[in-house]
Each structure stands twice: as structure tokens, then as C-alpha cells.
């Protein structure tokens, strides 16, 4: 039994609401701990890029990825452990500045956040960074009075120099036949 760890699962999805709905269904009915789920565009036009951050053991993640690959509308899916991907999240934070403008700005500056807009008593901050950092900034701003927060969810790509190039775009059969060649040695005791 392997212990649970965070994995980023990148999925290429044909631009179709139904396919997204199906994907969410496959994830949901496994009762996994989903830490983040985001959808946006990727490299290829017409193929949406979904990033799911999930905390689970390796076997559960592997089963999820194989189930996702079966979904009609899924172009490819791959899971990477947290260490092999770069993860970023964007957040927009509305915070009160009344009488403490300099302090707010100082706090924001420590996290690399910038002021997008401001009024007499408020500032709208933008920050990009790893999920925990974004959360730390929000916590740090809470004493000033956080009015609203929108977080994008995490997007991830594998790090430069790693062999993986995002989700698998090769045909399922190629991927699987390679995979099971390697399974050969798995229990060869």
C-alpha cells in the first residue's frame, strides 16, 4: 500500500461541455480528495487543458488516469507527482486598505502581488504562485479585511528537462502497449 501524495493530472479534452461533464463524473465517483480542478486552453486549438490536483495513492491515480483515457472526448491524460511539475495559481483579492494602505502594500509586495485597481478604501490585488503561497497571502491579508477572493485553480506543466511532454497525445493503444511491456517485470519475483 503506497501512501497518498499529491499528483497533477493533465487532461486534454475536446472542447465540449459534455466531455468535461463526463470527466468530472469519472473523477467524482471515485471519491478522491480533489485539491484543485481547472480548465482552460492548451497548446492545440480546440483542445481544452484540464488540470486536476488530487491527493491519493499511486494505484488510485493510475486507475483514474486509465478510466479518464476511456472517456469519449478525452484526447489524453497523464499523472505526474508534485515534484515533477511546475504548478501555478492566479488569485484576485479585494482587500480593505482603510488607514493601513502602506501595510497592505508591504504585505502584498512580500508575496509578489501587484495592485490592479484601487479605490479610497480598497485595493484589488493580483498574485500568481504555487497554491500554498497564494493561500499564505490571503491569510496574511485577512487582518486588514478581505472582501472577496477568486482563485483560478492550479495549472501545471512538467518541468523543463523531464521526459514527459504534458498529457499523452499518442493513441491509447501505443501508450498501453508500452505500459504493459514494462509491467512485465513488475511482479517477476
Amino acid at each position: 500500500m503506497t501512501s497518498s501524495a499529491a499528483y497533477s493530472i493533465c487532461v486534454g479534452l475536446e472542447d465540449e461541455f459534455l466531455a468535461f461533464n463526463r470527466l468530472v463524473g469519472v473523477v467524482r465517483r471515485r471519491n478522491l480528495a480533489i485539491e484543485s480542478l481547472s480548465i482552460g486552453s492548451g497548446q492545440e486549438a480546440g483542445v481544452a487543458r484540464v488540470t486536476i490536483v488530487v491527493r491519493a495513492d499511486e494505484g488510485a491515480v493510475d486507475r483514474l488516469v486509465r478510466q479518464l483515457r476511456k472517456v469519449i472526448g478525452v484526447r489524453g491524460a497523464a499523472a505526474e507527482p508534485e515534484a515533477s511539475v511546475a504548478c501555478r495559481e492566479l488569485a484576485l483579492i479585494r482587500v480593505r486598505t482603510t488607514g493601513r494602505y502602506a501595510e497592505v502594500l508591504d504585505t502584498a509586495g512580500r508575496f509578489g502581488a501587484t495592485v490592479l485597481e484601487e479605490s479610497r478604501d480598497e485595493a484589488l490585488l493580483e498574485v500568481t504562485g504555487p497554491g500554498p503561497m497564494v493561500l499564505s497571502l490571503i491569510r496574511a491579508l485577512e487582518p486588514f479585511g478581505v472582501i472577496d477572493v477568486a482563485r483560478s485553480g492550479i495549472v501545471a506543466v512538467s518541468r523543463p528537462g523531464t521526459t514527459s511532454a504534458g498529457f499523452e497525445t499518442r493513441s491509447i493503444s501505443d501508450v498501453e502497449s508500452e505500459r504493459y511491456q514494462s509491467v512485465l517485470t513488475l511482479r517477476d519475483d
Partner: protein, 564 residues
């Protein structure tokens, strides 16, 4: 020169193009344009069922018996939701069913219109694919995709939802303008390398106690000859799972029986002692494995399976071979060295126990089933329902004809047998079809007798009547202190019920009556019903208790409870 067609007319043309000549359905408001067009296509036979669930089961039965997609049709709202159990049944057993539902007009969608339901949303997790047609121009490509998706790769149900106004929409249609279906590489052939097959052959050569475990995939891939050849060349004993029954001749010296919760003791013992299991076209379901922690503790597993997500899902495998069961098994068969397993056969023989049934009356399930078998002959297809009788039908009937046993395995759908048998009849119109149910399951879909009468469908129905929901009662007896909560079940007088429908009906209470009743039912040109009044508290043995391993069967009646 393109012709102007309505969406409904185009739908009928496309069904013909896909080779459809039969569908099971029920009309209603949102599907009326389709039913309006249908009489223009007399080559499309429509069977009016009495319930949409039955339409889905009939399409499923047709698909399983024919290997071709089964089609069912329903209207929006309640018509569509009634299909749900049938679609889930088809999904769990990988059956290629195409369901066509009407939907409220596009302008009404999302307004809680009369008979509107989000049937796409409802069926997403229980279909291989579901698709809404939002414009008549999408109809041809999406319908062709639907049939391709249902029938290729691992088969499964597909639902197509068509708003009423799209069925009425006009389209200029030129016959022959049909681009190839693109499935985006999802169902391409899977070239498992020769190295993996050689590895499998090596494992087989090295094994001392190998077993072949054969599932539904063998029937779906028509891998019968390949499996037979592999078994005979290697002398490896063959186990057939519930849905693998009739994939391998039961009279063959290598056939062992069914594994799992109600598997025979020697079959489960063989699994527990095996050092190699070659599973072909199965998913190592929990009813097969018992507690997976103690499943086949000495065995390495070679898993031959079309669906890559099944490999390693339920049990860890030493070697997974992804691809078509027939192709892979015959290639493996060519590679393996011929061998014998004499010592292993002797060992398994030693595991065999005398069959222990709790049967007290003289009208035994075994007697009934051998009566049906003797009178109906080897061509007969047996369609069973779910419960105690299903296990008896699986274990006590000698299946030597390919794909002659059809049942709801994965979902375990009570009420399946009677409507599914209607579909089986259309796939095998010249062969006898028996729908065997318990008194519980029969009452779930017995309204379909009317369909048989109206459409002249000569399905023969057998009811194992013990006055209980027997399998649940058995669990209550074994594991719930004999508290028979909600399991006694009243039945109507089935002979008079048959009479009311205008069909032949017989009641059998003694073993001596079996043959005559079955023979008369079979001789009758139309549908006929035979009720077998069996021992009320008979149990299915052996039984692996839930959560236990295959090593720990209950083999006989538990001691009666001490009186308080």
C-alpha cells in the same frame, strides 16, 4: 440531387444504413415525429413493449444473442428515465445497446417543460457515451459515431437524445455522403508486442498448477476456438465466470465450473492453489474473487483484456496483455509449448465435494433444469433473471452450445429475463428461448407477456416460485438471524394469469409433471408459462460469505438458531 428529408426520416434512413431492422420501443409526445416517419420504412420492425425498461432489456438481449447492436426507442421524461436500469445493465455487461430518446423542443429545454428531463446528465455515468443532437445537420455524424462507439472496442450502451423540433427540421440529404467515422484513436487495434506473448508462454510453461479463467470477453470477441485450442494444447483446466458460461463446452474434460461466491468448492479451491491464472476477457469482479486480499494467494495472473483500465484494477497482475481476446489468445496458443497437467488435474479432483443442496422436496432445481434441457435440446438459449434460480441455472444446466446462457451479471437486474428473452428470440427466431425467473423478478416485468402475445413471440417462461425473495431470504437466514424482513412475496395464480393473457400456462408441483409441462409449453406455437412450485427455504450452496476469501465457503445448512 439532394432530397429534402425531416430529421425523423433521416434518422430512419441512418438506422437502415447501420444495418438496423428491428427496434424495441414505446411512443410518446417528444418522439412522435419519429413514429410518424416509421411507417414509411416497413423494413424497420418496431416491437411495442409495455415498459421502456423492458425495451432496453430486449435491445440488450438481442445484442447479446446476435452480436449486433440492439436498438431501443423512448420518449422524453418518464420514457427516457425508464430506460435507465436497462442502460446500466448493458453498461455493466458491455452490451452494445443504442437508445434513442425524444427530447422537448430546443426552445423549451431548461424550462422544466412537460416531460423534460436531462437524460444526458442522468445517463452519463451509466453509458459508454451519450450525445444530444442540437441540429439536424449533426444527426448523421453523431448517429454514425454512436453506432461505432457502441460496437467497437469494449462494447457498451450509447444514448442519443433528439429534440422534437430537430426531428421535424428539414435537411437536404444526398445518399452516400457519409464520411468515415473518426473515433480519435480510441478503438484502434492494440498491437501487443510479441515479447509480452512470449513472456506469457514462458509463464505457462513454468507453471505447475495453471488455470484458465474465461469471461464475457471471450463471447464478445467470439474467441471460442482460440480458447479451446489454448486449453487443449496446454491441458489447462478452464473456469467460466457467470458471464463466461457457454464460452467453453461444459462437457469438455477440461471444464471445471463457475468460480466465486456460489462457485463449486473444487473450482474455488483450484483458484486458491493455482500458481498461474490466465484470465481472458473478465474483470475479476468481487463476486468472482471474494476478498481480494486472499484471492489466489499463490498465483501469478496473466490478464488478457481489451480494456486497458481493467488491468490491475481489482487484482494485481504479473502480466497484462491488452487487446482482442481472440487475436491474443490464438497468438498465445501458437507460441505455447504443448504440455500436460496430469498431477494438477488429480489434485483438483481431490478438491471435489458431493453437491450439497438443502433441497427437501422432490421437485429439485436440478430436476427442473435437466427437464428443460432434455426437452428443449442443445439449441435452446436460457435467459435467467437474478437470485437463487440464477445460480442454479448457471451451475446445474449443461451449456455446450456457444453463447447459450444470457443473464444480468454486473448489475444483477431483477426483471431482466422476460424482456431480454424477447430480444434473444429475434436474434434466434428458429431456436427455443427460455426466460427463467424467480417469483420476485418475474413480477417485475411480467407485463411483457402482452408484448409477446401482440407480436407473436414464442418465448417460454419458467418461474421458480418459492414464495420468497429467495436470495435475500438466504442472506437473512445466514447473516441476519433468520429475520425474514420483507422477503415473503405473494404471487398471483400464474396459470390463471396466463389464461388472462390468452397463453398456455402450467403449474408443476411434482417431479413427474416436469417433462410433460415443459414439452407442452414448447410445442405451443406461442408464448407459454410454466410455474414450478419449489421448496420454500431451499438454499444455494456452497456460498462464500461476503468479505470472506474463496477458501472459506459455507457448504451446508447452518445450525438452526437455539430457541430463546
Amino acid at each position: 440531387m439532394p432530397e429534402s428529408l425531416t430529421g425523423a426520416q433521416l434518422l430512419c434512413r441512418l438506422l437502415r444504413e447501420q444495418g438496423v431492422d428491428l427496434m424495441f420501443g414505446y411512443p410518446g409526445g417528444a418522439i412522435m415525429p419519429f413514429y410518424h416517419a416509421l411507417p414509411e420504412f416497413p423494413e424497420l420492425r418496431h416491437v411495442l413493449m409495455r415498459h421502456e425498461q423492458a425495451a432496453a432489456h430486449a435491445a440488450d438481449g438481442y445484442a447479446r444473442a446476435s452480436g449486433r447492436p440492439g436498438v431501443c426507442v423512448a420518449t422524453s421524461g418518464p420514457g427516457a428515465t425508464n430506460l435507465v436500469t436497462g442502460l446500466a445493465t448493458a453498461q455493466m455487461d458491455s452490451s452494445p445497446v443504442v437508445a434513442i430518446t425524444g427530447q422537448v423542443p430546443r426552445a423549451m429545454i431548461g424550462r422544466d417543460a412537460f416531460q423534460e428531463t436531462d437524460i444526458i446528465g442522468i445517463t452519463l455515468p451509466i453509458t459508454k457515451h451519450s450525445v444530444a443532437i442540437n441540429d439536424v445537420t449533426e444527426l448523421a455524424p453523431k448517429l454514425r459515431d454512436a453506432f461505432a462507439i457502441a460496437t467497437t472496442g469494449r462494447p457498451g450502451p450509447v444514448l442519443i437524445d433528439i429534440p422534437k423540433d430537430v426531428q421535424n427540421q428539414k435537411i437536404d440529404w444526398s445518399e452516400g455522403a457519409s464520411p468515415a467515422v473518426s473515433l480519435n484513436g480510441k478503438h484502434g487495434p492494440t498491437p501487443t508486442g510479441v515479447a509480452a506473448l512470449q513472456e506469457a508462454a514462458r509463464l505457462i510453461a513454468e507453471a505447475e498448477r495453471p488455470l484458465l479463467m474465461v469471461g464475457h470477453g471471450v463471447i464478445l470477441a467470439r474467441a471460442y476456438d482460440a480458447v479451446l485450442a489454448l486449453a487443449e494444447k496446454t491441458d489447462i483446466p478452464v473456469i467460466t465466470t457467470l458471464l463466461g458460461i457457454s464460452a467453453f463446452p461444459e462437457s469438455h474434460r477440461l471444464h471445471l465450473g463457475m468460480p466465486g461466491m456460489h462457485g463449486e468448492v473444487h473450482v474455488n479451491r483450484a483458484i486458491q492453489h493455482a500458481d498461474l491464472i490466465i484470465g481472458i476477457g473478465l474483470r475479476f469482479d468481487d463476486r468472482v474473487t471474494g476478498n481480494t486480499a486472499g484471492f489466489a494467494p499463490r498465483a501469478r495472473i496473466i490478464h488478457i483484456e481489451l480494456d486497458p483500465s481493467e488491468i490491475g484494477k481489482n487484482v494485481p497482475v504479473a502480466l497484462g496483455l491488452v487487446g482482442d481476446a481472440r487475436d491474443l489468445t490464438s497468438r498465445l496458443s501458437a507460441l505455447v509449448a504443448s504440455r500436460r497437467c496430469d498431477a494438477w488435474h488429480q489434485e483438483i479432483l481431490g478438491f471435489t465435494r458431493a453437491r450439497s443442496e438443502s433441497y427437501r422436496g422432490e421437485l429439485s432445481p436440478e430436476g427442473i433444469l435437466s427437464g428443460i434441457r432434455d426437452v428443449s435440446g442443445p439449441d435452446c438459449t436460457v435467459v435467467s433473471d437474478v437470485g437463487q434460480h440464477q445460480m442454479w441455472v448457471a451451475k446445474l444446466y449443461p451449456y455446450n452450445t456457444r453463447n447459450s446462457h444470457i443473464t444480468s451479471g454486473g448489475l444483477g437486474t431483477m426483471g431482466f429475463a422476460v424482456p431480454a428473452a424477447i430480444g434473444v428470440h429475434f436474434a434466434r427466431p428458429d431456436r427455443p428461448v427460455w426466460a427463467i425467473s424467480g417469483d420476485g423478478g418475474f413480477q417485475m416485468n411480467m407485463q411483457e407477456i402482452a408484448t409477446m402475445v401482440q407480436e407473436k413471440i414464442p418465448v417460454k417462461m419458467a418461474i421458480f416460485n418459492n414464495g420468497y425473495l429467495g436470495m435475500v431470504r438466504q442472506w437473512q437466514q445466514f447473516f441476519h438471524g433468520r429475520r425474514y424482513s420483507a422477503t415473503p412475496i405473494w404471487s398471483p395464480d400464474y396459470v390463471r394469469l396466463a389464461e388472462a393473457y390468452g397463453i398456455a400456462g402450467y403449474r408443476v408441483e411434482h417431479a413427474r409433471q416436469i417433462e410433460e409441462a415443459v414439452a407442452r409449453a414448447l410445442r405451443d406455437p406461442g408464448p407459454a408459462l410454466v410455474e414450478f412450485v419449489i421448496e420454500q427455504e431451499a438454499n444455494v450452496f456452497p456460498m462464500i460469505p461476503p468479505g470472506a476469501t474463496l477458501s472459506d465457503p459455507i457448504e451446508s445448512e447452518p445450525a438452526p438458531l437455539a430457541s430463546p
